[in-house]
Structures are given as C-alpha cells and as structure tokens.
C-alpha cells in the first residue's frame, strides 16, 4: 500500500504545483469541448488578470529601462499566450450564453455558473432580444402565437427555447482511477475508467466527473 501513498502524495504535489496557466488551459479546453456552460472559475480568472497586469507594467518598465530586446520579446510572448487563453475562454462563454440565453435565464443553477458581468450580460441580452422580437414580429401575430418562448397557447412548455445537447459525445481523458462507472440510467452500460486513458463518452453521463475534476475534456 505504501506505493499508493507515494502516488497520492506525488499527485497532490503535482496538483499544488500546477500553474495558473495550466489551470486556465484546462478550463479553456473543458469549456470548448462541453456542450453546456460550465462554472466560472472566478478566483482563477482574477489571479490571471492580476498577473497579466503585473507583467504589462513590468514590460513598460523594461521598455524604458533599456532591457535586452530578446528578454522583452520573450516576456511579450508569454503575455500574448496568456492573453489568448483568457480571451478565448471568455469569448467561448459569451458565445454559449448568447446561444442559450433563454435557457440559461430560466435556470437558477445555470445562472449561478456565470460571473457577475456575464449575468448582467445575459439579462440585457434577453431583454433586447425579446423587445426586438416583439416589435418586429410578435406584435403582428395573432393572439395566442405571440410568445417568445412558446409556439402557441396550446404548447405545454417552452418549446422554442434552444437547449444545449447534453447527449453529445465528447472526447475526454481520465486523471485518476474512477473504476466501474455507470453510463446510463438503466445500468446496462458500465465502463471501467482507468487513470490517464482516452475515451469518447456521452457528456451527460460524465458531467459530474468533469465538475469534480476527475475527467478532463479534450
């Protein structure tokens, strides 16, 4: 059993040593591959923003201080790479929010996954969209068909709200041993998930594992 403990502490050490950039990269990949919007990692994004700001100031000082061009350009590259990651991460989320804004607005759980600014964004987005639809189309439709979310009065639920396809298959990699894992509701599909292996699975089945960090989407 002692080799297990070594592995555990090694894994813990590796986790602790993971840089913010690594964490941001993981968040970015997960967000890109996931059909639905994931939890906004506020502490991570603020830390990275701070570091970016610090580096930008340092680079300004360098430019004035006459530091070697090579060093400046290398730091600039590091800055550019980090900027790309964070911008792409934020843009991805905005795209998903725009796409599923009605669906997100209706769900407390989904709204809680957004940052404060994103929540403001989704609110004003839906307001603008509803207003636009009403003014341009809905006000001219007969009564009973003029809802933004329902096709007609006879619809039992909001059937015009686009929802993310949670049953999409995604590529993923396990980080730790999960063991026998049940993929569906009826217990027919069981998969033995071993550490560090590549799988293609239905997103819905592994949602929980992604949230807990045991599986990474690639």
């Amino acid at each position: 059993m002692s080799s297990w403990e070594d592995e555990d502490s090694a894994a813990a050490a590796a986790e602790a040593a993971t840089t913010d950039v690594e964490l941001l990269k993981r968040a970015w990949r997960n967000e890109k591959a996931s059909p639905e919007i994931l939890r906004f990692d506020f502490p991570l994004v603020s830390r990275v923003r701070e570091q970016i700001q610090l580096l930008e100031e340092t680079l300004d000082d360098f430019a004035e201080g006459g530091v070697d061009d090579l060093v400046v350009s290398l730091y600039q590259m590091d800055l550019d790479r980090t900027l790309f990651l964070i911008r792409s991460y934020l843009r991805l989320r905005l795209q998903k929010i725009e796409k599923y804004m009605m669906h997100i607005s209706k769900s407390e759980d989904l709204l809680n996954r957004l940052s404060q600014q994103e929540q403001r964004f989704v609110k004003s987005c839906t307001e603008i969209m509803e207003k636009h639809l009403e003014q341009s189309v809905l006000s001219k439709l007969p009564y009973g068909y003029d809802s933004v979310t329902r096709q007609s009065l006879s619809s039992t639920e909001d059937d015009m709200v686009p929802e993310p396809q949670l049953n999409t298959f995604v590529f993923c990699k396990t980080k730790s041993d999960v063991g026998a894992f049940q993929l569906d509701d009826i217990g027919e599909e069981v998969v033995d998930l071993v550490a560090d292996d590549l799988y293609v699975l239905r997103y819905k089945s592994i949602k929980g594992l992604v949230e807990s960090g045991q599986i990474d989407l690639i």
Binding site: T19, D20, V21, E22, K25, R29, K32, A33, S34, P35, V48, Q51, I52, L55, D68, L70, V71, S73, L74, Y75, M77, D78, L79, R81, T82, F84, L92, Q95, K96, K99, P162, E163, Q165, N167, T168, F169, V170, F171, L183, D184, I186, E188, E189, V191, D192, D197, L198, Y199, V200, L201, R202, I218
Partner: protein, 223 residues
C-alpha cells in the same frame, strides 16, 4: 428542434492544438548567458552557455529562431526508438503504441525550426509519417465497427492531433447511432426480462479494441 448538435463551438483548430502542444517541456543548450525568466506560465533559467536547460517548446523555438540555442532532440525522436514504434504499430492491429500525446505537433515544430539539430532528420521524418499512416489506418478500420450498441469508445494512446482530426466525424457518427438505435436497445432489455442476459445474445458491444484482451465485449465469437 432538429437536435443535431452544433459542432461549431467545440471544434479545435489545428493551430489551437499546436498552441497547447507548445507548452510541452523540451531541453535546449543555449549559447548565451541570460538571467532567469519569471513568466506567468512558470520560471525558467537562468541560462548559461553550453549548459542544458528545460523550457517550454514555444520558448525553445523562439530562442532557436534567433540563433541563441540548439534544441536537444527528445529521446523518443531517434531513428532507433521510432523504428521500434513503427514495427510495434504494424504488429498490433488493435492497439496504439504509447507515444507522447503531442508527438505530431512537437515533431512538426522541430522539423520546421530545428532540423539541423535532429540527427538523420530525413529518416526520422519519414518514420514519423509512416507511423502516422499506420495509426490513422487503424482509426479508420475501427470507425467501421461502430454500431448502435457502441456506448463508449476507448482510444488508449491516441495523440492530440489524431483526436482532433477524427473528432467531428466520430462525434456525429456516435450521435447518429445513439439517436437512431437506442430505443431498440431499451426494447430488447425489456423483452429479456429478469433472467440474466446470456452473454452471447449481446452482439458487438463495442467497436474499438485496443488491447490484447477484450475489454467491452464479453463474447469472442463476435469476431
């Protein structure tokens, strides 16, 4: 709603895959003296002439482009190792050999910017291309075996770029089968009832087998 999943958002461009690969650590031998770099992505250096140092690939390429270092070819990128891998790939039609996850991106970047640092570069390049071909052929063969009963696919040792290439097709295929075939599966389970399902009834349960022993499927007469 039509329900076809929108592939747009989840597509990684090859440049994005390369971007991720550029963070892989590689060894360089600088020919200059440079102080330590405390960057957002980590701390590297200080650098002394002729003393080997480990840096991310993007940094290595940047230094190499400016003639400030030579890059040490990774151990797996030698003619001997690659010949071993190629032979093993050819001998095991259902398994992928372990290779660095980003082997395609790493080798491409090194060929583009540091070819003079690779011994037998031409041979190494053709070996890697052959390995890619053999592996991709396995992927294509495997794809043919996907059926409605496939609920998961295991792709041990597949690399990042290979994943990215087959992602769109694989996802759409599995999705289409899942949509069209799953009601039948549930019906069959109902019919079978409470007695334990005989293993032989199952039919092909999984499409990819990249092990010597059957993983998802329980019966061997399927093949």
């Amino acid at each position: 709603m039509a329900g076809q999943s929108d592939p747009h958002l989840s597509i990684f461009s090859p440049s994005e895959v390369e971007f991720v690969a550029e963070d892989e650590i590689i060894e360089i031998v600088p020919n200059i003296r440079m102080e330590a770099l405390n960057m957002i992505c980590g701390d590297f250096g200080p650098f002394f002439p002729q003393i080997a140092s480990k840096v991310p690939l993007w940094l290595a390429v940047a230094l190499k482009k400016r003639g400030k270092c030579t890059i040490r070819t990774p151990d797996w990128m030698t003619v001997d190792r690659l010949t071993q891998v190629l032979d093993a790939e050819r001998e095991s039609p259902k398994e992928f050999q372990p290779l660095p996850f980003h082997y395609i991106e790493i080798s491409k970047l090194l060929f583009d910017h540091a070819r003079d640092d690779i011994s037998d570069a031409y041979l190494v390049r053709s070996l890697i291309e052959d390995i890619r071909d053999v592996r991709f052929h396995k992927v294509e063969t495997g794809l043919e075996t996907i059926s409605g009963r496939t609920h998961a696919v295991k792709l041990k040792n597949l690399s990042a770029m290979e994943v990215n290439i087959i992602r769109p097709f694989m996802v759409r295929t599995l999705q289409a089968f899942y949509k069209h075939d799953s009601p039948q599966m549930i019906q069959q389970a109902d019919n079978i009832g409470s007695r334990p399902t005989p293993v032989t009834d199952r039919g092909p349960r999984v499409s990819f087998q990249f092990y010597a022993y059957e993983y998802f499927s329980f019966s061997t007469e399927v093949y």
